[in-house]
Amino acid sequence: MALLSVDDLHVELQTNRGMVPAVRGVSFAVEAGGTLGVVGESGCGKSITALALMGLLPEGARVRGRIDLGGTDLLGLSEDEMCHVRGNRIAMIFQEPMTSLNPVHRIGRQIAEPLRLHRGLRGANARDEVLRLLDRVGLPDPAKRIDAYPHQMSGGQRQRVMIAMALSCEPDILLADEPTTALDVTIQGQILDLINELVDDSGMGLILISHDLGVIGETTDNVAVMYGGSMVEQGPTDSLFEHLAHPYSQGLFAAVPRVGERHDGPLHTIPGTVPELADLPPGCAFADRCAKASDVCWGPAPGMAEVGAAHHAACHHLGGAV
């Protein structure tokens, strides 16, 4: 049985235009030590899915479905019970290391917080553990940096601090929401390597959210492609990269400029823009931007169909795409 399995997750957000579906029937599973990449454009629902797992959705959000972590349905837990899960069994790293740390507290104190909360560590014990964690995430000179304030550190160092914080209680699942997007390219590789190494060592499951296909391809065993709040394609990373079944996945991959390849004419793009969640078309959400769309695409939304070993996609025109 999978460590984490999400089944038919729906999230509706409160907006000034009423309740809007942000996640529509998402299902996936992560094994212990397994890695899942979630990829899609901004606004496709990938971050909201992560926040739903953490139970940290914005106020007024409605969520249904099942999020099963080691046999417990997280959606059935009270807020108090969720506080014991967060930072303890599921931890999260955010996109913006510059703003994700509290500017008025020393980083040592911020890393010690989950240790005190979930492990009951205090004083010197907590400090020793923080030093060990800082060393583990490769922060140079931890004994000196433990008393630094966030503004005294670079973006990469701050992200290492965030990772130390997330790892502190040895979570079962690590959620990383665009952990390298805000960093310099040279630092991105280091942080990704660090995350990979930690996942290999600890056997925790990783969900890596990114719009960067390169990052996903290097890091994960499985990939889920999201569009308009739904998963449109899902499968083992190798198989999926080799054989893109869904027209959206194909467009997304074609839009990545490749180093060393000369482009005459404009770069490849997907026409149109990501739909407002409140204005999703009926049927397939991608229909109005899809080159293959036909009348059937405006009818009932397509279900997931197998296109390879453990590789599924949701499209009426899978035959034509293969």
């Binding site: 506080c83 931890a91 994700s100 989950p114 909360l117």
Partner: protein, 315 residues
């Protein structure tokens, strides 16, 4: 930190010097001769001359300015034209009323507004929030003196719980003094509370949306723990700013409040001094007001640096 303090102290001196020059020049060019006011407009020329000589008004302005400042360095503010006693003595007596009044109003306003602001922010868009905002709107709209009169009618005239005004000094017992100052303190605190409640509420709401508060929640902190440990200290910064600025309002506001409640404070002193052209009192009290405002801003700057480590680096 010591460089920071030293630098602020120099700024303080420069500001006070500038204020003293402006105050002196303004009083110099304003019409109204103290000698004429004391003797009446029909007084004979010789008598006016004698008074001017006695007050030292015959000497050139720059000499009088230097005299004044030199006196200040020795703790002397000169003699009041009207009362014929040292101005330091007058101010000293009157501060016994004004200081407790101003500090009391600031303390009450701070305690009430922090509680109400945090309460409103944690009940954002719910009944409690609307209630607090309604109260704050009302507090802003009601003029101080009118609110003071309402309080007098209710607590002094109808209920007869508290005196309607006057202050008999601290010698008759602390409790009597406190009772005399209760209504004035609440009157003065009203508009301060209204403003600071709004600032606290919006500041808490804004900080609560920060990424690092989400991080705190992601670590497993409850909403309440995240509020206390991560939101409040950051949310305090704008409240400090406004609180510091409001001290100036409090200091000048004593002028109105002390008149409504007939309190013998510094506000009443300067009010009477202006009417009587007692310029020796006026210039010293105004300089005192300026000094209080500058000192408070200095304290606020130090508090900033204590609350926010980033400020220590930049100064």
């Amino acid at each position: 930190m010591s460089v920071f303090l030293a630098r602020r102290f120099v700024t303080f001196l420069i500001t006070i010097f500038g204020a003293s020059v402006i105050i002196f020049l303004l009083l110099e060019v304003l019409p109204g001769d103290p000698a004429l006011t004391m003797l009446g407009v029909d007084a004979p020329e010789s008598a006016v001359k004698a008074i001017r000589l006695e007050l030292g008004l015959d000497r050139p302005a720059h000499i009088r300015y230097v005299d004044w400042i030199a006196g200040l360095f020795q703790g002397e503010m000169g003699l009041s034209y009207v009362y014929k006693v040292p101005v330091t003595e007058l101010i000293g007596q009157r501060l016994q009323v004004t200081l407790p009044l101003a500090i009391g109003a600031m303390v009450v306003a701070t305690l009430v507004s922090l509680s109400l602001g945090i309460f409103a922010a944690t009940n954002h868009n719910r009944l409690g929030d609307y209630g607090v905002m309604g109260f704050s709107q009302l507090g802003l709209a009601i003029p101080d003196f009118w609110f003071g009169i309402l309080l007098i009618i209710l607590f002094a005239v109808i209920l007869q719980w508290l005196p309607s005004g006057g202050f008999s000094g601290w010698d008759d017992g602390v409790w009597r003094g406190v009772r005399s100052l209760m209504l004035p303190v609440f009157t003065q605190a009203l508009s301060l509370t209204a403003i600071m409640t709004r600032v606290t509420r919006s500041s808490v709401l804004e900080v609560a949306r920060e990424d690092y508060v989400r991080t705190a929640r992601a670590k497993g902190l409850s909403r309440r723990a995240a509020l206390w440990r991560h939101v409040l200290r950051n949310a305090l910064i704008p409240v400090l700013t406004i609180g510091g600025l409001l001290v100036a309002t409090v200091v000048t506001g004593t002028l109105v409040i002390e008149n409504v409640f007939t309190l013998p404070g510094v506000g009443k002193l300067i009010f009477d001094a202006i009417s009587n052209r007692d310029l020796m009192v006026v210039k010293n009290v105004v300089l005192l007001f300026a000094a209080i405002v500058v000192v408070v801003n200095f304290v606020v700057d130090v508090l900033y640096a204590m609350v926010d480590p980033r400020i220590r680096v930049h100064t």
